[in-house]
Subunit: 85 residues, 2 copies
C-alpha cells in the first residue's frame, strides 16, 4: 500500500460522498460509514472490489467507481477517511 | 435481516473482540473498526463471508468464525456494534 495523503484524498472523493456521506456517515443502513475507519482496511477493501474478491451486492457499482483510480489515489482516499473525525 | 437485539449481540461477540477490539476499535490497521457501523451493512458483510461473495484475505477466517451462527445471531451482533458509542 502506498503512503496516503489525506489532502489529496479529499480532492478524489466526490463520487464517494453520494453514498458514504460528506461527513463519512452513510445515509443508509446498508452502506458503510467510512469516518475514522482503518486506512489499510479501506485500501484492501477497495482493491478487493477491483480484483474481484468482493462480489455480490454493490460490488459492480463499487468496481465501476474505482476502476480509473491508481493505487496512489486509493491510498489517498483511504487516508482521508481514516483521518476524518 | 431479522431485527437485532444488541444485548443478545454482546453475549455472542467474544471471538469478534480479538481482532475488532473490545471497544469496537481494531488494534491493527488492516482490521476494520466496527463501533457505530451501520447494522445492515454489518449483517450483509457477515453474510457475504458465509455465502462466498467475499473471498480473499481474512475471508476463510471470517467464515470459520461465523459458520455456527444463525441469521438471528448475526443480526444481534450487527445491532450490538451499530449501537456502540
Amino acid at each position: 500500500m502506498p503512503k496516503g495523503d489525506a489532502s489529496q484524498g479529499e480532492i478524489k472523493t466526490p463520487s464517494c460522498r453520494f453514498c458514504h456521506g460528506s461527513n463519512g456517515i452513510a445515509p443508509r443502513p446498508d452502506y458503510p460509514n467510512l469516518k475514522g475507519q482503518q486506512a489499510e482496511y479501506l485500501y484492501n477493501s477497495m482493491q478487493a472490489y477491483l480484483d474481484g474478491s468482493r462480489t455480490g451486492t454493490m460490488s459492480a457499482m463499487m468496481k465501476a467507481q474505482l476502476k480509473n483510480l491508481s493505487e496512489q489515489d486509493i491510498a489517498d482516499i483511504a487516508e482521508y477517511y481514516a483521518q476524518m473525525k
